[in-house]
């Protein structure tokens, strides 16, 4: 990012940020700012909204007007902002717990309404802010402070959920896939209606440490080597070949133009 872009979009008087060394959230924030800047949007017509969690702290570092709300409710507040003033571009930062646990109902309804928001979920597969409890996205078998013997419950696939619930745009990438992530966020910002971008992120402090990623680099490398393009997975399935259990899919899951709510007239 050019220093000019950085200086424009970040509140330099608030840095350094609270994210731990090696956390993936900063990367996702930067990718988002690059995409927003590339849209040619202005600081004064862009609003960032978030819930509560490490991920939800992101708006506090960005120069625009922003609303850091209550745990799980970012989409409800964002819906009010966007419906009351469709001229504003509204971007939401959320976490896997914020979005899929306490905020799950708001998530599916915002997708169903197909309200014109772009939502970026930093999925670290854990509750980072509160010190590493299991989330609805903690993979089976993984260790958290509330799943000390390994998570027993199946995890949500957030991007598939967004597709099923009616979002116009849905994509998943990781903090390793910087170029792809920027492109996906840009596509989300461009698509009218509800756009959902899931960014898997490393969380060395609350997740990596407990789950055999001793170095930050190891979890990033895992995301690189275990990400399978959606198209490839579909091809394997068509050919009747096995898709390895430990792979997860990345790519654009849907881009469509169903009628949307709150679109600037």
């Amino acid at each position: 990012m050019s220093t000019e872009t950085f200086g424009k979009w970040y509140r330099e008087d608030r840095l350094p940020h609270i994210f731990c060394t090696g956390c993936g959230n900063g990367t996702v924030m930067n990718c988002t700012i690059k995409a927003v800047d590339a849209m040619g949007w202005e600081i004064d017509d862009t609003i960032f909204v978030s819930g509560i969690g490490c991920s939800s702290r992101a708006p506090g570092y960005i120069s625009t007007d922003s609303l850091h709300t209550t745990h799980g409710r970012a989409l409800a507040f964002a819906t009010g902002v966007k419906m009351a003033n469709p001229d504003l571009h509204v971007v939401v930062f959320t976490g896997d717990g914020d979005l899929a646990a306490i905020g799950g109902n708001h998530f599916i309804h915002a997708c169903r309404r197909n309200i014109d928001l772009t939502v970026i979920c930093m999925n670290n597969m854990i509750y980072g802010m509160t010190g590493g409890q299991g989330s609805p996205c903690t993979p089976v078998g993984k260790i958290s402070t509330t799943t000390p013997y390994g998570a027993a419950e199946p995890a949500f696939d957030l991007t598939e959920l967004a597709v099923a619930a009616g979002a116009n745009y849905a994509a998943r990438w990781t903090s390793y896939h910087v170029a792809e992530l920027i492109k996906a966020i840009r596509a989300g910002l461009e698509t009218p209606g509800f756009s959902f971008i899931e960014a898997l992120v490393q969380c060395p402090t609350a997740y990596g440490r407990r789950n055999k990623f001793r170095q930050v680099g190891e979890q990033v490398e895992y995301m690189r080597s275990h990400a399978m393009l959606l198209q490839k997975k579909r091809r394997l399935e068509e050919q009747g070949k096995d898709v390895p259990d430990d792979m997860f899919t990345v790519g654009e899951f849907v881009r469509r133009y169903r009628p949307a709510l709150g679109v600037r007239k």
């Binding site: 509140r11 608030r14 600081i43 004064d44 017509d45 609003i47 909204v49 708006p59 506090g60 120069s63 625009t64 007007d65 922003s66 609303l67 850091h68 709300t69 209550t70 409710r73 989409l75 409800a76 507040f77 964002a78 819906t79 009010g80 902002v81 966007k82 419906m83 009351a84 003033n85 001229d87 504003l88 109902n105 708001h106 309804h109």
Partner: protein, 367 residues
């Protein structure tokens, strides 16, 4: 000019909101408040405003707060169970100083209780329901006309003090039909804008900071975390937290006598009824049937912040009788402020209101 209409209380509330310039309504249906949402769904689109039925009451108040940040006058309406769900986000509105209007058409509780019956069981919840120390404003209508007038007033107070304002009505008044006169226009007190050079949460002399509407270039960061005057989180500074919360409470409490709205009748009386909402009507009937000056009446249209000076309007008072549709929620507040007078709580549950005979008998018993 005014128009005379025969109207339901809930419809009058909706008319009051529209007259006050409300352009955003987010809600979730619940008896006995639903007619307000239905009227809004009908009327809002024709006026270019927004009606949105949210997925629950948590989302409703969240959307209302979000809309308010764009500068809209925003409102929701609910009843007990929905009101309970709103508590966390109402605390957020207090902490972030977001003006909004919440209408509670009270019904019998706890829990699902008596959906179609009248009650005033949420009078302390609207004051103390959200966690942390807060102060808000609560208005209580006792006529359909007041449903209109006090809804308008609620918007003005919410904007002026940057707090949630509660219209704490009940099933009786919400569903009653009466004649009302609707003025062509109403007084609107707009939100104060920030003065140039002032920080986002830098309060002016009245302890209220100017409102930095989103999209106008203020670049405000709004958070429910304890924040400094720039609006930035600073959650572990004890002095800052204390100063912030004291200001949030004091900006309302220190103006309680200015905010007060009441009628005081027969101020020389020794026995005085204190009422708000439906029991105001019953006491008026008692005074109509027994037009002597020995029965005093204090009717409160604003109960929070509690205007304790109004008690002093009755210098000869020996007894205050407080008929209310709960087990003595406001009587408890009145007890805190009396200077030797006896307070008799006439709490009532079940969904029906006091009869004039019951109240008159109580006066005889006391005398």
């Amino acid at each position: 000019m005014t128009t005379l209409e025969f109207m339901q209380g809930n419809a009058a509330c909706c008319e009051g909101a529209l007259a006050a310039g409300c352009t955003f309504f987010g809600g979730y249906p619940i008896t006995p408040s639903t007619e307000i949402a239905e009227q809004m769904a009908l009327k809002m689109p024709k006026r270019g405003g927004v009606f949105i039925q949210m997925e629950d009451e948590i989302a409703s108040i969240g959307a209302v707060i979000g809309a308010s940040w764009t500068g809209a006058r925003a409102m929701t309406a609910t009843s007990g169970p929905g009101f309970s769900l709103m508590m966390e986000n109402l605390g957020y509105a207090v902490m972030t100083e977001t003006p909004c209007v919440v209408v509670n058409i009270q019904r019998g509780g706890p829990s699902t209780g008596q959906p179609t019956m009248s009650a005033q069981g949420d009078m302390l919840q609207c004051r103390f329901g959200s966690h942390g120390d807060i102060s808000t404003i609560a208005l209580v209508p006792s006529t359909v006309q007041e449903m209109f007038d006090l809804t308008v007033k609620a918007f003005n107070l919410a904007d002026r003090f940057r707090v949630p304002a509660f219209l704490m009505s009940d099933e009786t008044i919400g569903h009653m039909r009466e004649k009302i006169s609707i003025p062509d226009s109403v007084e609107i007190i707009p939100r104060k804008e920030p003065k140039p050079g002032m920080l986002i949460y830098e309060a002016e002399e009245d302890m209220v900071p100017g409102f930095p509407t989103f999209g106008k270039g203020y670049r405000a960061h709004i958070t429910g975390l304890t924040h400094n005057e720039r609006g930035y989180p600073e959650a572990t500074n004890p002095e800052l937290h204390e100063a912030l919360v004291r200001r949030l409470v004091d900006k309302v409490e220190s103006r309680r006598h200015e905010i007060a709205d009441y009628d005081a009748v027969n101020t020389d009386a020794e026995t005085v009824f204190i009422t708000y909402g439906p029991s105001t009507r019953t006491v008026r009937q008692v005074l109509h049937d027994h037009p002597d000056e020995t029965i005093g009446h204090l009717n409160l249209r604003i109960v929070w912040p509690f205007p304790e000076d109004t008690l002093k309007l009755f210098p000869n008072a020996k007894t205050f009788i407080v008929p209310e549709l709960n087990l003595g929620q406001m009587a408890r507040e009145i007890e805190r402020h009396v200077t030797g007078q006896r307070v008799i709580s006439m709490g009532r549950l079940g969904g029906t209101i006091h009869t004039p005979a019951e109240l008159y008998d109580k006066v005889q018993e006391v005398a």
